[in-house]
């Protein structure tokens, strides 16, 4: 698949120009402050998820501690910002992410030296151990980590430059968008370099990579260092966006979150983590407004993705692109509609059961067992809603099972056509 075209050929240039245009115009379409702050979060998440995918997707290293570099980059940035505010340090605020990135890189050099001597499962466990170690340290050194409350800062501390103070949210959005665009281009360019190619080789077969004269440990180490640089940039932007960094930012939960983003988006494609970061950030802020059990729904969504679409959303997209090119998508549509309806029925039953359990077990003490779901008011202490929900779930489950067989049958037919066209 190695192409001989120059790095910036026509279609690719168009894609990047479109990306830049979207980044510039988004805050003009969504002007509410919560929308701007969500867009800013998405930008940060995109950089972080892409930097994570340099490890998991490109080098095959499953890390459970990537937030260490994100969080430490954020802490160093906060201290830098505070030093700028005190007047003890002079540095343009726009370029603070450089410092955050270098901080991430520095810790990547230190921790990566230990972790990248291993690959596979041991690497995963060691990265988890390092993350726990840093998280435990964060409560031991309150001067640097700020203890339980974290460290706050003022992003408008620097000298205004051309009227830009970074006080208003929109200005921070454009700062994040600018860094996000630069990071995306840089990380994409890296996949095209010999190092990026060697990382793929190490992922696919480390032994063969060694045979042709490359040291897999060294490749992993370099990829980890570079990826912690970008994670540090993301952390730095997060510090400026929230003006507060706490020990949670280096924690295992934050590391797990970026893993979920990259995986749900799809680690096999460069654009996968971008989709994942956008979608997961959106789900997390939208769903948490509606239900307290949103983490459970989110976890179930993740498990379903692993079981049925381990390539993530990106692989589903490329799969359908193939079907589209041989104009076979219409054969899939009826089966998809059936599966979507059945899935919706099963989901309704499941949501009913989960929300009722929540009402009875957790919320009953404050608000009683009376509740309403989808506009229907009922009492969760009576058996009728339970039986109804369970029946809906069972019926939906059976229908879904039948529909999934239909989807599989349609796909078998479509795959035949795709293969026939390819070999023709």
């Amino acid at each position: 698949m190695m192409n001989q075209r120059p790095f910036l050929h026509g279609r690719r240039l168009l894609t990047w120009a479109a990306t830049a245009l979207v980044l510039i115009t988004l805050p003009m379409m969504f002007t509410q402050s919560f929308a701007i702050s969500m867009l800013s979060q998405m930008g940060i998440a995109i950089i972080f998820a892409l930097s994570y995918n340099m490890l998991l997707g490109q080098t095959g290293m499953l890390s459970f501690g990537h937030a260490v570099y994100f969080g430490l980059g954020a802490f160093i940035s906060v201290h830098t910002l505070n030093a700028i505010g005190d007047g003890t340090f002079h540095w343009p605020v726009t370029l603070i992410p450089v410092i955050g990135g270098l901080a991430g890189l520095f810790f990547g050099v230190i921790f990566g030296y230990v972790t990248t001597k291993h690959s596979g499962t041991p690497f995963a466990m060691i990265s988890l151990g390092i993350a726990e170690m840093v998280a435990a340290c964060s409560l031991m050194f309150p001067t640097f980590f700020g203890g339980e409350g974290g460290i706050s800062t003022d992003r408008a501390a620097g000298e205004p430059f051309l009227g830009i103070t970074y006080g208003p949210g929109v200005q921070v959005y454009y700062l994040i968008a600018g860094w996000c665009f630069l990071s995306m281009v840089a990380m994409f360019a890296l996949t095209q370099t010999p190092l990026g190619r060697m990382a793929n080789a190490v992922r696919d077969n480390a032994e063969r990579a060694r045979f042709i004269g490359y040291n897999p440990t060294r490749v992993r180490y370099m990829m980890l260092i570079l990826s912690s640089f970008f994670a540090g940039i993301a952390g730095s932007l997060a510090a400026m966006n929230y003006e507060l960094v706490t020990a949670e930012n280096v924690g295992v939960v934050a590391s797990g979150n970026v893993l979920l983003m990259a995986f749900i988006g799809g680690v096999g494609h460069f654009f996968g983590p971008i989709i994942g970061a956008t979608l997961v950030t959106f789900i997390q802020s939208a769903l948490s407004n509606y239900t307290l059990a949103w983490l459970l729904y989110f976890g179930l969504f993740f498990l379903v993705m692993i079981l049925f679409a381990p390539g993530g959303i990106a692989s589903l997209i490329t799969l359908h692109k193939d079907a589209w090119q041989v104009s076979q998508v219409r054969r899939l549509v009826p089966a998809y509609i059936a599966a979507a309806l059945a899935g919706l029925i099963a989901l309704l039953g499941l949501i009913g059961l989960i929300e009722m359990t929540y009402q009875v077990e957790t919320k009953a003490e404050q608000s009683g067992t009376g509740m309403s779901l989808f506009g229907i008011a009922f009492d969760a202490a009576t058996p009728t809603p339970w039986i109804t929900s369970a029946a809906i779930l069972v019926v939906g489950g059976v229908l879904l099972w039948a529909a999934s067989r239909r989807v599989r049958a349609s796909w078998t037919a479509v795959a035949l056509v795709i293969n026939a066209r390819r070999s023709a």
């Binding site: 499962t121 995963a124 498990l303 359990t357």
Partner: protein, 315 residues
């Protein structure tokens, strides 16, 4: 001396508990090459099931009911979860157990709430077994050790002296050959997974009331168990045993030492300046550093002996 003996006994009971967890994890790892992230979640479920059982029927039935229920869940996990994602490779398997741990924690939140539940030591075991100098040593700790040791002996005998144990051992190293001899290797895998889950569940039953039963218990024990497995050497039962005792001792003993580098400087007569940036580091006591020590030990082990204490393979 009194402090030392009491802490030694405490660290022993804690270390044995850790081994109940790490032994199951090690067996599952060496058999399927999968590190089960949800293993500590099974421990937590064991504690919660035991709490629920002890509310309805009592503590003693819980010793059997809770591990059995956890084992059933483990079997289902292997059969319908891991076996489905197996074809996608190790990363998918690892991520599946990661997602499962996530969901189990949320389900525990959903059913039992976020606060600790009142899972208490049964009244019949709530007395002091013997006294060391002036300290009354609780009988429940002794009971914990007895259960752990009985379980260990049972595990050892089952693995070395029974036919099933021999087939399991053979499947560890030569699954293809065992399959060729007509044994159902996938079912052996399921049995081992369920057995490991049952061990974790039993650890939860006896550990949940000795410590605290809360939704965060899986995360806090889980990473320590991983440290144990790495420290002892991946896939080595004997290594896991030694590492459990070492890590248990490190965690238990560190709590009791209230010395910091400042106290050392005081003895050596070095003056320190509270204004200096390193002062934070000097004043950290061993008790405060306790939570970090296991990870530091693990990192040191990885630098100087990447195989772990008794590991046979490296990565």
């Amino acid at each position: 001396m009194e402090f030392f003996l009491v802490t030694l006994l405490n660290s022993l009971s804690y270390g044995l508990l850790l081994f109940m967890l790490s032994s199951g994890l090690t067996l599952i790892f060496s058999m399927m090459g999968v590190l089960n992230f949800a293993h500590a979640s099974f421990y937590m479920l064991g504690a919660y099931f035991a709490y629920q059982t002890s509310v309805y029927i009592g503590f003693w039935p819980a010793l059997v009911v809770a591990p059995a229920a956890v084992a059933a869940l483990g079997a289902l996990t292997e059969r319908y979860g891991l076996r489905t994602v197996h074809k996608y490779g190790h990363v998918a398997e690892l991520l599946f157990t990661f997602g499962l741990a996530y969901i189990i924690e949320e389900i525990v939140h959903l059913i039992w709430g976020r606060a600790p539940v009142e899972y208490r030591i049964p009244a019949i075991l709530d007395f002091s077994a013997f006294s060391i100098y002036s300290t009354q040593y609780p009988a429940y700790r002794v009971f914990m050790m007895l259960v752990s040791v009985a379980m260990l002996a049972g595990l050892y005998l089952a693995l070395t002296r029974t036919r099933i144990g021999l087939i399991i051992q053979a499947s560890l190293t030569h699954p293809d050959m065992v399959e060729a001899l007509g044994h159902n290797v996938p079912r052996v895998f399921m049995t081992v997974f369920a057995g490991g889950a049952a061990l974790a569940g039993l650890a939860g039953v006896i550990g949940g009331n000795a410590f605290v039963t809360e939704p965060g218990m899986a995360a806090s024990v889980g990473t320590i168990v991983f440290v144990v497995v790495v420290f002892g050497g991946m896939g080595s039962l004997a290594g896991a045993f030694a590492a459990s005792l070492v890590i248990g001792a490190v965690q238990t003993f560190s709590v009791g030492f209230d010395y910091s580098l400042l106290s050392l400087f005081g003895i050596l007569g070095i003056q320190t300046n509270p204004e200096s940036g390193w002062y934070d580091l000097w004043k950290v006591t061993i008790a405060q550093a306790g939570p970090v020590l296991p990870y530091v030990l693990m990192v040191l082990m990885l630098i100087f002996r990447p195989k772990g204490l008794m590991g046979t393979r490296e990565g």
